[in-house]
Amino acid sequence: MFICEDVSFNIDGQKLFSNINFNLKPQEDLLITGPSGIGKTTLLSILCGIQKPTTGKITYNSIDLYNLPENKIDEFRGKNLGVVFQNFNLINTFTVKQNLEIAVSAINTRKSIPLFNLLDKVGLANKSHIKVANLSIGEKQRLAVARAFVGDPKWVFCDEPTSSLDDKNANIIANLIKEESLRCKASLVLITHDSRIQSLINFSKIIRLGEQL
């Protein structure tokens, strides 16, 4: 169970959002929408342990995330959460394969992860040796999705995964996210305005930021 309790965030004393409350059962999906600049990405950062909230509590299966020591938060995120950032946040000087390998080493698991299969699913198997800086936007997005699912996470967070893509690539990414989340039995938390992806996934809950304030 993923519980968000009374989460709020202030910047320079100004309230960005407050009273964010929800709980997600396993494999339930959450959609976060709202106007631009309202704090959707900040909320996502809070939910996956990158940014501490001003007030409130985030609990994953009874683990109070922000009650953990900071290095444990990072480890928890590596092992249990997958994140697809709006600007991908890939390591441009690494190759496609190296970006996945570094994600695997962060998980610190003894389990053998078939990276080639994953790359094949996202259509990048023949580009494993190519540096990220030389990939197209669509390819980078696919790699970012592959990286998010590399450790079979239980919760996956995606921030506008299809915003800069054409219909064809948007469709590929949307389907990829849906298939992988079903394979991992993961809960999805998605920030998107894109109706192409909204129509594909059956969201259990929707948070409209702005209406929460």
Partner: protein
Amino acid sequence: MLSVFLMVVGITIITVSILVNQVTKDTFSKNNPGLDAVVGAKGSPLQLILSSIHHIDIPTGNISYQNTKEIIKHPAIKSAVPISLGDNFQNFRIVGTNKSFLKLYKADLISGTVWSQPMQTVIGYNVSKITKLKIDKFFVGSHGLIDTGDVHLEQPYKVVGVLKKTGTILDNLILTSLDSVWNLHSDTNKDRLEITSLLLKYKNKTSSFSFPRLINKGTNMQAASPSFEISKLLKLTGNAHRIVDYLSILIIILSFLGILFTLLNNINERKYDLAVLRTLGFSRWKLFSIILSEGMIISILGSTIGIICGYIIYESMYYFSIVGRSIEFGQLNFLNDLFLIWIIVNIIAFITCLIPCIKVYKQNIRSTLLNS
């Protein structure tokens, strides 16, 4: 790479400096078996000491053997050992002396016996090793102290004994009786027999002041103090060593600065990548240790290679020293000093690396990613 190179250079120089310094002091110390004075021909006291005890440099001249008998009888003198230089075999000095010379150095034989007749010799350990001379072998000496002089074909020497390794100058000498040297160089008039010098020990250390004055002023000879002359020499060379040490410390400091700026630069360039690693699950401490490892690898690699290079240079000097036979390398305790330097350098490198590591530790993921 530059930081590693600077570290290697600095540590190499300091290693060689330590070894040379230690070797020099050790050699001078070991070659002097507690002698209080050396009496020889007037001239440079340092030259007298270097030629008579350490067997480098040429003697100041000869002194009358008859005159030295008076000195030997002086009440201040505990023991007196005459030596006579003049010939060599393959650049190893042939020293005419008496059997007390061996007692002076507490020398033992590996094989054979001490000479009992003229032209019989006892050779040092290194002499035997390099020249391949063994018991009952004959050889001819060359006139002079280096192997370019006339050869005394008419009277060959015979090896009757080989000395154990002493770690002193004795290992590089060929010892024989005074008669051997006189037979080759002097006329038959016993009153005109000469030696190079007399090695003295006092009964009482208080004679250190009065006895040399007596010789220097009252005779045509001079008395020099080994400890005094060598201290003077080491003081002069000590300044040179200090300059070398300061230079190597400066280079090492530059290397530390190189490590620091390299790491800071790397962190700056990889700020974004490091923030991404945090989002993937690398903790602050893990990144801290990665950056620390990078810095320490430079330091450990550089300092280890530096010590190895310094040691190789030392071994090369050792090799050439055997050929040159000017400095004797004994059992040196240099390893402790080198290990201490290695530890100190790497501790300082560790402290230097902490600065960029702390910067990485304090990095805020979100603001770094946003700013990128």
